[in-house]
């Protein structure tokens, strides 16, 4: 075996990389939610935060790492799913999977797939608008030119169907995380029965925070449109 | 007598094996690569032999009817494995294990073989630990022991109630290492249907591929039969459904003498039958008798009340219970040997004290053990004045850690919680001490054909002590056969590969094919199981725990007529050239129908009671077994002569130089 081959190319390794990229994306979600929650502090605070994110050199570098993380997670996920389908070429006529496992654990490709579709829409809604258009107005605060990202975000959520789509996507994300969080620790080998219960609880609480936190912003600005 | 040379080495018993090993021929490592050995059966004996022979350099061809060597029925052995390690410092020694085994076998075993078994027993434990077998350990990290029936020391090593499993998986892993190296060619889902004899030597086998139905020829310089016992002749037994006598019977028909077929172990602690649908019986490990007390009610009225459900066994007062083993055998109590415990249960049930609907069950009660362990545990955990409930709870935990899987197994089958109500048990056919006659080298009366493990007759006499089957299987496979077979193979180094296109192979294959075609073409009206059940019933009724001359004669006649009917009226659907479970069963039952008659004939010949063989004509006034050393201190080795009834008896006289012959007493 060539050096480190097993570390990149085997069933266990693929799961490890799913886990590592997953945990990395989880960290990203935390940062993302943290920035978003600043919206509740008002327009200027949020725009300052996005300005920081758009200009900080470390964050700029991390953007590419993040993109890579997404790509690896998505491509690996699809590849694993295809392999797993091939591993049972003839299926069962009758399956009672609910007797032994949770829906979320069995359907990561569905919850993940929904999140991916959402991600594309989300990138179009915000990333594209912010990076590739001049549609966002600017203003100066304390001598710094800020983009009014606050307006971009808050105005999107005045449209009811965007709110519905986003909230549904956040629920899918929560479901994905509910299994993904603790699963990542298992795949990386950082789990045993003593910690299992705690990790599951932390994972569920975390998923709920992510899903509710993001949804709260969408719903809040639908109910309280910014002027 | 010409062929019955037991080849026991000269010298004092404790030096025999060492001297023998020093004097037998060896095969040089380079020459071992030129020699093929066939091993049929991959349980403890066959698996261990295959692995060891392959490690030594022989080319091994191993055969199992299951889909993997790991499934052999050795895996079901629960309680443990004996070894004279004396780790408990309770006075154990090689001699004591030897003595207990000969005495337990009711002085019908060959001394030299048993001594060798005791001698190598300690190596088995060392070997298995080195292989990574996870035996039970105490808190100091050292190996733990428990006691088994018929002995006064703790020498049984165990892995919960799954010792056989762990030992077999150890042998299986050793095999896997050699399969990976290409030194063992493993033939799963293959059944041996004949042995091929060329120039008077075993040179190969004919086997059926159970998936395709293809009849195959396999050649070798020697053939080892390690296919276990024939308890399934009783239809209901604790053996696996597929356990059979076929390989052993085929070599018997080709010249291997069959020894002591009537020595059958009826194990006292099995789950009682529940009805006619039953396909097999399940053992509850003998180790349970360490902690369980066996009883039936003292009075018939209580028996009736229990049977019709108005009285629960837990409600019956101590004074109204008959702990019959403790009463009859105060010295050994509940830990008397298996044959004694089984007969005592039968005696009580025949007298009408059986506690279930069929009248064939006695209680195995752990209540006293719950209290004893509970108090101990409470003491250790510093609980003062614990409540009775608390003591019971703690006690149940201790029992659970010792026998959890057995209790769970019981509950799954019987649907009663044995932590809350006593278990019900009844004797069932479990092991056959009889088998292919072998000399000290484990060679049968066919040169080049060996028999190991339960398939041979050699070490247990008329009754096997608990935890000794695993010991014998592994001793034969790891430490005896790999040496002794070299003595024979040393003369085969110039033979070269045995061709499979010889007339002998042609004839053997034709014989197999003809038999299969004959069976398939009967196209009768009754299923294989129909005949098997009838055979089992006559065996159990007439050749079971108690035997007498009329019953045995009747059994011989009856089995013969069932056999004739079988060959006229059996119905086997499907084809011979595909997977066909009915055809497989038919072949096995056909052989059982011959063996059963020889079995009864052997029991008839032996007009004494010894070990598992109880002749009603030979008992003391108290109803205890009465052995007759003057007339029957021999091994019965039967030579095949066409019909089982025509088999010719050869006697191997047993000499006891190191143990005094005594009437067994466990009082």
């Amino acid at each position: 075996m060539s050096p480190l081959k097993g570390f990149f190319n085997s069933s266990v390794a693929r799961k490890f990389w799913m886990a590592i990229t997953g945990l990395f994306l989880i960290t990203f979600l935390l940062v993302h939610l943290g920035v978003n929650l600043v919206m509740f502090a008002g327009k200027d605070a949020f725009n300052q935060a996005t300005h920081f994110m758009a200009t900080n050199p470390l964050i700029q570098v991390m953007q590419y790492v993040l993109a890579a993380g997404f790509l690896v997670h998505i491509i690996m996920g699809i590849k694993l799913t295809m392999q797993n389908k091939a591993a049972r070429s003839v299926g069962y006529a009758y399956e009672n999977a609910a007797a032994n496992s949770s829906w979320s654990s069995r359907n990561m490709i569905i919850s993940g797939g929904l999140v991916l579709v959402f991600l594309i829409l989300h990138m179009r809604n915000f990333f594209y608008e912010m990076k590739f258009t001049e549609n966002i107005g600017t203003y100066t605060l304390d001598g710094v030119v800020l983009h009014n990202d606050f307006l971009l975000v808050s105005s999107l959520f005045t449209t009811w169907y965007y709110v519905v789509i986003y909230v549904l996507a956040f629920i899918a994300l929560g479901i994905h995380l509910n299994h993904g969080f603790q699963s990542a620790f298992q795949s990386a080998g950082w789990k045993n029965s003593n910690w299992k219960g705690l990790m599951q609880t932390v994972g569920t609480v975390f998923s709920a925070i992510i899903a509710i936190g993001f949804s709260a912003i969408a719903i809040y600005f639908f109910l309280n449109p910014a002027q | 007598m010409s062929k019955l040379d037991s080849k026991i080495p000269a010298g004092p018993i404790k030096d025999k094996w060492t001297n023998h090993k020093n004097n037998i021929n060896l095969v040089n490592p380079a020459n071992k690569r030129l020699i093929d050995v066939i091993v049929v059966g991959t349980g403890l004996a066959g698996g261990a032999a295959s692995a060891s022979l392959a490690e030594m350099g022989y080319n091994v061809k191993a055969f199992a009817y299951q889909d993997s060597p790991r499934r052999a029925h050795s895996i079901a052995a629960q309680g443990g494995i004996n070894a004279a390690k004396n780790y408990q410092n309770d006075g154990d020694s090689t001699y004591r294990l030897f003595y207990d085994t000969v005495k337990g076998g009711d002085y019908r075993a060959r001394e030299a073989n048993v001594y060798r078994l005791a001698e190598v027993s300690a190596s088995i434990i060392d070997q298995c630990v080195a292989q990574g077998v996870p035996f039970a350990r105490d808190y100091g990290g050292l190996l733990d022991n428990r006691s088994f029936g018929g002995v006064l020391v703790s020498r049984t090593f165990y892995a919960k109630g799954q010792t056989g499993q762990q030992l077999l998986l150890g042998a299986y892993s050793a095999m896997n290492r050699q399969i990976a190296k290409g030194k063992i060619a493993m033939h799963n889902r293959h059944e041996m249907l004949d042995v091929v004899i060329v120039d008077g030597k075993a040179r190969g086998i004919i086997a059926r591929d159970l998936i395709t139905g293809k009849i195959e020829r396999h050649s070798a310089h020697a053939v080892v039969i390690a296919t276990g016992g024939y308890g399934n002749v009783f239809f209901l037994s604790t053996n696996a459904m597929g356990s059979n006598v076929t390989a052993a019977w085929k070599i018997h028909k080709k010249g291997a003498y069959f020894a002591n077929p009537c020595y059958t172990q009826i194990h006292p602690t099995c789950i009682p039958r529940s009805g006619d649908h039953q396909s097999k019986l399940t053992l509850m490990s003998e180790s349970l008798r360490n902690d369980g007390r066996i009883w039936v009610p003292k009075h018939k009225k209580d028996v009736d009340a229990i049977r019709n459900g108005t009285l629960k066994p837990t409600q019956l007062a101590e004074a109204d219970r008959d702990y019959y083993l403790e009463r009859r055998y105060p010295a050994f109590g509940n830990l008397v040997p298996r044959d004694v415990a089984s007969r005592a249960a039968k005696e009580r049930c025949d007298a009408g004290f059986g506690v279930n609907a069929t009248g064939e069950a006695v209680y195995l009660d752990f209540a006293a053990a719950f209290v004893r362990y509970g108090k101990e545990k409470a003491h250790v955990s510093g609980l003062h004045n614990p409540s009775e409930e608390k003591i019971l709870e703690l006690g149940r935990e201790v029992i659970k850690s010792k026998y959890g899987n057995l209790f769970q197994m019981y509950e799954k089958i019987v649907d009663e919680n044995p932590y809350m109500t006593p278990m019900m048990i009844y004797p069932a056919v479990h092991y056959t001490m009889g088998g292919i006659w072998v000399d000290y080298n484990l060679q049968t009366t066919i040169p080049g054909c060996y028999a190991a493990g339960e398939a041979n007759f050699s070490d247990h006499g008329a009754n096997r002590l608990g935890a000794s089957a695993l010991m014998q299987g592994l001793a034969d496979g790891y430490f005896v056969l790999p040496y002794t077979i070299g003595d024979y193979l040393a003369n085969e180094i110039r033979t070269g590969t045995i061709p499979t296109d010889s007339p002998e192979f042609d004839a053997a294959e034709k014989n197999v094919t003809d038999t299969i075609n004959k069976m398939m073409n009967i196209k009768g009206t009754k299923s294989v199981d129909h005949f098997h059940k009838r055979l089992g019933k006559i065996m159990w009724d007439n050749v079971g725990m108690a035997r007498n001359v009329e019953g045995l004669k009747e059994a011989m006649a009856e089995i013969k007529s069932i056999r004739e009917e079988f060959w006229k009226d059996v119905k086997i659907p499907g084809t011979a050239n595909s997977m066909n479970a009915e055809l497989e069963k038919a072949g096995r039952v056909a052989d059982f129908l011959e063996l059963g008659e020889l079995f009864a004939k052997d029991a008839l010949d032996r007009n004494e009671s010894c070990g598992g063989h109880f002749r009603e004509e030979s008992q003391t006034e108290e109803g205890e077994a009465l052995r007759n050393d003057k007339d029957y201190a021999y091994v019965s080795a039967w030579e095949y002569k066409g019909e089982p009834a025509d088999a010719v008896l050869h006697k191997e006289e047993l000499e006891f130089n190191d143990i005094e012959l005594k009437q067994r007493s466990y009082k």
Binding site: S10, A87 | D67, S279
Partner: protein, 254 residues
């Protein structure tokens, strides 16, 4: 739980002539089944009926019928070894069903465990995984050191035993939506990783066993935990985590 009354059942059983044929579910009615009989004894009754009619009986793997050999392998009503925790098919009793029930009986399914006939599957791929390293490389000389020369902490010995109780039935694979063999493999890796005897070659063992598992075409573990629930011996998911750990550190050390 049903009463003591005998049951009538509709069975939907997978019939397939051989590995290359196409199979299908076939309906069979059985009557008068005692709730005290085991599931396999119920199939015995069916087969006896089929033989009487001159039809080929349903072939299924079974041997010890006491839950330890690992031979029996049925997927019953959507679950490996049917309803009930920590039992094999042979330990499943008909009292778990009700009169009038319809029961689906299918073979264990995985690409790496193809059907041989009816309900019998080929599990030799599992043996191949074991052959890749599921052993301690010690010859049977009998001249190893004394068994008590190497004390092993009771907790380690017990954990190794728990892992070693795997019966190799394949229920974990059959149950896993990915047909992954991780629980099976990890049980053996864990047993030896926990014992000093096994540690010597632990790194090579886990790498080789995982490689063969992948080559045999088993799926990847997605941590659904179904295997642990359906395992007749209750082998813990901890073993998979331990194996992942062993594997990752072993392959990093390459």
């Amino acid at each position: 739980m049903s009463s003591n009354k005998d049951m009538d059942l509709l069975l939907k059983i997978w019939r397939q002539a051989d590995a290359n044929s196409k199979g299908e579910l076939v309906d069979y009615n059985v009557t008068g089944i005692s709730p005290d009989s085991s599931f396999l004894e119920m199939l015995d009754v069916l087969n006896e009926q089929l033989v009487e009619k001159g039809q080929e009986p349903v072939v299924f793997d079974h041997d010890c019928r006491e839950g330890i050999c690992g031979m029996c392998s049925l997927f019953i009503n959507g679950e490996a070894h049917g309803p009930g925790d920590q039992i094999t098919t042979c330990q499943l009793h008909m009292r778990s069903f009700n009169d009038g029930d319809t029961i689906y009986i299918e073979p264990f399914r995985a690409t790496a465990m193809p059907v041989i006939k009816d309900l019998v599957v080929d599990r030799s791929s599992m043996d191949k995984i074991q052959q890749a390293g599921g052993y301690v490389s010690v010859n049977t000389s009998g001249n190893t050191q004394d068994a008590n020369a190497l004390p092993i902490p009771k907790a380690d010995a017990d954990a190794a035993f728990d892992a070693a109780t795997c019966i190799g039935c394949g229920a974990c694979i059959a149950t896993c939506k990915n047909a992954s063999a991780m629980l099976f493999l990890s049980a053996k890796v864990s047993q030896f990783a926990l014992l000093p005897q096994g540690k010597v070659e632990a790194a090579d063992r886990v790498k080789n066993m995982v490689r063969v598992m992948d080559e045999e075409g088993f799926g990847n573990c997605t941590n659904t935990g179904a295997c642990e629930v359906e395992c007749p011996k209750g082998i813990s998911l901890d073993n998979i985590a331990r194996m992942n750990r062993e594997y990752l550190s072993a392959s990093l050390a390459d």
